[in-house]
Amino acid sequence: MKKGKITITITIGLTFLILTAVIFIQFKTINQTDITSLENMREDELRTEISNFKQKSEEISKQIEETNLKIAEYEETISTDKEASELLEKELEQQNNLLGKNDVKGSGVIITLTDTKEQKITAQDLRELLNQLKLAGAEAISINGQRIVYDSYLVDIGDTYISVNGEGIVSPYEVKAIGNPTYLESGLSKKQYGYIDTKLEEGKDVVLTRQDNITINKYNGDLNMEYAT
């Protein structure tokens, strides 16, 4: 009887040891797996990746066409011995629109976030919003008149205000974004896990409206790189 118990105990012990080892090996393998490599991608991930590359290829093709057109236009000014001023100004204007050196206008969305007694809007709320707007294809963004540029940052200053590009702003925060209004709106309004539903769930006051004619002011700081060449 007693001998039987010992055997069982040893067997159980051994079994647990083996199982633990198996689990451990399993974890090790998972740890060493590179989730971005092709071999480890699931079917849905493969499909997303394929459509991503197709979309990117389309964008690049469009860009190639535009570049070809520009090349042809410049070549024509050279062969006809004319000034290229207009072409240069056009290229410069496009760049300055994107960089925030020009005021820009267009259709898009306006999101208003307001502090309530219970829930204050934080710099992180605004950072997440900018991130989601960029994902949805925003071409220009401002917060309370402050243009968001490539090196903009947002930080809480105490409990009272938020600093954007080093300038203090207070609630209500009006975030303007120019881009495809449908993409911008649906990007933020995904049910349950979307930005707006998540913030409403946290008790925050967030309102989105679509607008046809939004004007976004230019950046009033200097854009330059001190250390990068």
Binding site: L46, V104, N131
Partner: protein, 227 residues
């Protein structure tokens, strides 16, 4: 008897699991081929674009010689390309490396979340680097530009739409004496991450190279507004 049965069931399950994993892998081989061909097509288109851009730069330069204003505008276009992240840049700065702790004993950890790197972490670090004067930033060679989004997509992170996994290398060009303390100070964000179990290292460097933005800016909806 019971134990033997249990072990047998275990082995059977493992075999079954292996088989099902094997099947899924085989079923996906068409998709993998398609992905590889899409990727190949994208890469060759991208090379074509790079060549066209070089060509454009050359004709622009030779076309912009008729007036002083044209010459100035041509120089300004090139300067703007640097600001738009469309050129590779070099300079002094810091390199932050984040890795998930591979030595964690999973049995002792109830919440594995703290050991992982999340999109919020990367957004926060990028924000903090620009706050401390960074000129240019990349994460695993994805250049951070004005339209860059950093988002979670299942268990991977996408930056500029490209997949990024651990280990994560964040390069920032700027003044190291300002950026490093802003992030590494006691009680700072990197220390919080390290306390949670992420393996964090920060290194100052005299010579960092940050690649150019490989995406395309869209300007379908914006037009100049101050006219």
């Amino acid at each position: 008897m019971l134990l033997v049965m249990a072990i047998c069931i275990q082995i059977n399950t493992i075999e079954a699991a292996t088989i099902s994993v094997g099947t899924t892998l085989r079923d996906n081989s068409d998709l993998k081929d398609e992905l590889l061909s899409c990727q190949g097509k994208y890469e060759s288109l991208y090379k074509e674009l790079e060549n066209k851009e070089k060509q454009l730069e050359e004709v622009r330069l030779s076309a912009a010689t008729k007036s002083e204003e044209d010459t100035q505008n041509e120089i300004e276009i090139k300067r703007n390309q640097v600001l738009l992240g469309l050129t590779e840049v070099t300079g002094q700065g810091i390199i932050i490396r984040l890795d998930e702790n591979r030595e964690v004993n999973s049995e002792e950890v109830l919440d594995i979340n703290g050991y992982l790197v999340h999109e919020e972490d990367l957004l926060y670090i990028v924000n903090e680097l620009f706050n401390s004067g960074a000129d240019a930033i990349s994460i695993n060679d994805q250049r951070i530009v004005s339209t860059t989004s950093i988002v979670c997509d299942g268990n991977i992170i996408r930056i500029n739409g490209k997949m990024v996994g651990v280990p994560i290398t964040i390069k920032a060009i700027g003044y190291p004496e300002r950026m490093d303390p802003a992030l590494s100070r006691p009680g700072g964000y990197l220390q919080l991450m390290a306390n949670q179990g992420v393996v964090v290292t920060v290194e100052r460097s005299e010579n960092i190279t940050i690649p150019k933005f490989e995406g395309v800016y869209s300007y379908e909806y914006i037009t100049r507004g101050d006219e």
